[in-house]
């Protein structure tokens, strides 16, 4: 089983720049394997390159999915982080 949730990017710059770096850093802090997808593209959340290539701009809906011992905490933490960017 894995935990997943959908979230709309509210940050002005999208999942780019500072938000993208902070997102990857936070994802690296969990033991679970985290993926984030936008449309038909999916990225390993520990890869800044893959996250950037999602091209998830402001208003994009992304799906965060985690699989592992702290999967619920990971998804909740990452959602909270994304919501903190304006």
């Amino acid at each position: 089983m894995s935990t997943r949730t959908e979230i709309t990017i509210a940050s002005e710059v999208g999942l780019h720049a500072r938000p993208a770096g902070a997102f990857v850093k936070r994802a690296n802090g969990y033991d679970s394997h985290v993926t984030v997808s936008h449309g038909d593209r999916s990225a390993d959340a520990s890869s800044l390159l893959q996250v950037l290539k999602l091209e998830a701009g402001k208003g994009a809906t992304v799906v965060i999915e985690a699989d592992g011992p702290d999967e619920e905490e990971a998804v909740a933490g990452l959602v909270e982080l994304l919501e903190s960017f304006e």
Binding site: H16, R18, A20, D44, S47, L48, K53, E55, K58, G59
Partner: protein, 564 residues
């Protein structure tokens, strides 16, 4: 437009990214000849080495309060250890030496990012290449530090400078930057501007040209670097720097002071397109807003802004000034698209359904915006401007809707004017003036439409000068029509803050120059210094000249030191 005759002779030209003139010894920062420290490293060791190097630089920047630079170095650590990069390197290393594998895999990933066609991602591709260069050096057993000792007053010369390179520099000792790569938005340009260090970027050949040089003169305003300049060149450089300093001081003294020409008040307004720019315009004590772009409220949002959202924004602008606030109706189409509007694919968007043409096809957008403007009217001096007018009927159609909505709201309609940005509008000015409360000349579009030269196309740059005589003739025609009808005529394009163009426009009789907030003070100082009779004669005479270069040369000849 280097009509500053003689000063760029024998110099290498680039783009002035941060202003000022400085003379100093060139110091080369090269990533490709760093000393070898010992044995080669395997991939894991190299990644760890590079990440530790960036972490060290990040900490230094953080301690020095350079948070933006520190954030960039944080991202560099993620890039150096990126699982996609590491995986691609491992695959490539199966049949290539490790340093080659790092370079080919890294370059392929960077190319992939750059190809997505997004300017932001293209810059990240540059970052990735900088990281890859450091990884290659580490694999080869080299040190990562690029700079050891900087002499006081050094002019730093490099092919490219990454944020990691720049972080190693003691900026107190750096007098200037001359870089082959980069652009106005590159890291180096941003850091140079924030530390007020003169910089020239995009300066091809500077590394080779300064290899054996002892001195360079770097002119960040003109975007030129003189290698081993003679005494006269240095003296001229210092003279220009001094003139600019005096002008800046004059500009600072002019803040908020009304200016006039031959007793006629000239408004120096601000162009704004975001809340931030509005705040900057207020801080600059501009004479109102000559161009309030409403696209920012409409683009980027997932839905069109409501009447209330718009009214709130317009009211904030109107309440901030006693002088007129000219709000341009939504100008989308062309190169600006709204995600929520189903825009047709057009072969020539700049010649297509944009500005008033689009508004008249989407009456709900026009009505909502006019309702919001009416809600915001009554407190200050709000005026409404119609973009992309090319026929009298364009203006009359908007006039009709505005009158209807005003009657419905029980309010007087605000003054309605025309943005003169098509040759058709300029030529129709006498007719338009009978129905318009003001004209504002948009020189950027007027220039591109007059020469039929896309202003986004760098290869057509020689057609983009707003002081080209055909453009000036259209401007003069518009100004004459406005004056005959007794309505004010302003200019809100880039020409308004271009000193030569501004002098000519004032000589033609325009009443307002609307400029970026940061240019308000310098333009006030310019108006303050100009002599009315001189610019009137200049404006009359340049109409007889064959091209923009001749106009600029003539203006410099006559007005000399007043211009910059």
């Amino acid at each position: 437009m280097s009509t500053d005759t003689g000063t760029t002779h024998g110099a290498l030209e680039g783009v002035g990214a941060s202003g000022g003139v400085v003379v100093g010894p060139p110091v080369h920062v090269r990533r490709d000849d760093r000393p070898t420290a010992g044995a080669t490293r395997d991939l894991d060791a190299a990644v760890a080495h590079v990440v530790a190097h960036y972490a060290d630089l990040e900490r230094r920047d953080r301690e020095a309060g350079r948070d933006e630079e520190a954030d960039v170095l944080g991202a560099y650590q993620l890039l150096a250890a990126d699982p996609e990069l590491v995986g691609a390197v491992r695959s490539a290393a199966a049949d290539a030496p490790l340093d080659t594998a790092v370079r080919t895999a890294g370059e392929a990933l960077a190319a992939e990012l750059a190809e997505l066609g997004d300017a932001y991602l293209a810059q990240r591709a540059e970052d990735l290449l900088a990281v890859v260069t450091d990884l290659v050096a580490s694999v080869r057993g080299r040190e990562l530090a690029v700079v050891t000792d900087l002499p006081e007053g050094a002019v730093v010369i490099a092919a490219e400078l990454s944020p990691a390179d720049t972080s190693q520099l003691d900026l107190d000792r750096v007098a200037g930057f001359a870089i082959e790569g980069g652009g106005m938005t590159s890291h180096t340009a941003i850091i140079a501007r924030s530390h007020a260090i003169p910089a020239v970027v995009g300066c091809a050949g500077i590394v080779a040209a300064t290899r054996d040089a002892t001195n360079v003169l770097l002119d960040g305003d003109a975007g030129a670097v003189h290698v081993d300049p003679d005494r006269d060149t240095v003296a001229a450089g210092h003279q220009r720097a001094e003139a600019r300093r005096l002008r800046r001081e004059h500009a600072a003294r002019m803040k908020g002071r009304p200016v006039s020409l031959a007793g006629r008040r000239i408004l120096v307004g601000a162009n704004v397109g975001t809340g931030q720019q509005l705040a900057a315009a207020v801080a600059a004590a501009a004479d109102g807003i000559g161009l309030y772009r409403t696209e920012f409220l409409h683009l980027g949002a997932s839905h069109p802004p409501t009447r209330e959202e718009q009214a709130h924004a317009y009211r904030a602008a109107v309440e901030a000034f006693d002088d007129p606030v000219v709000v341009r109706l939504l100008d989308i189409g062309g190169d600006k698209e709204a995600p929520w509007l189903d825009s047709p694919d057009e072969d020539n968007p700049f010649l297509g359904v944009r500005g008033v043409r689009l508004l008249l096809r989407h009456p709900e957008l026009l009505e909502r915006q006019l309702d919001a403007l009416l809600d915001a009217s009554g407190v200050g001096d709000l005026r409404v401007m119609v973009p992309m007018v090319a026929a009298v009927a364009d203006l009359l159609a908007v006039r009709t809707v505005l009158d209807e909505r005003a009657a419905a709201a029980g309010k007087a309609p605000p003054p309605l004017g025309v943005m003169v940005e098509t040759p058709a509008a300029a030529l129709l000015a006498p007719h338009l003036a009978r129905h318009a409360a003001f004209f504002s000349i948009g020189t950027n579009d007027l220039t591109q439409y007059t020469a039929a030269a896309d202003r986004g196309e760098a290869a057509l740059r020689r057609y983009h000068d707003p002081v080209a005589p055909p453009v000036l003739q259209l401007v003069q025609h518009t100004v004459d029509a406005g004056r005959a009808a007794g309505i004010p005529v302003g200019v809100c394009g880039a020409a308004a803050s271009d000193p030569v163009a501004a002098a000519v426009l004032l000589g033609m009789g325009v009443d307002e120059l609307s400029v970026p907030p940061g240019e308000v003070d310098p333009v006030r100082a310019l108006v303050d210094e100009l002599d009315a009779e001189q610019v009137t004669a200049l404006a009359r005479d340049v109409l007889e000249l064959p091209d923009a270069d001749a106009v600029r040369a003539e203006a410099h000849e006559r007005l000399g030191g007043v211009l910059w």
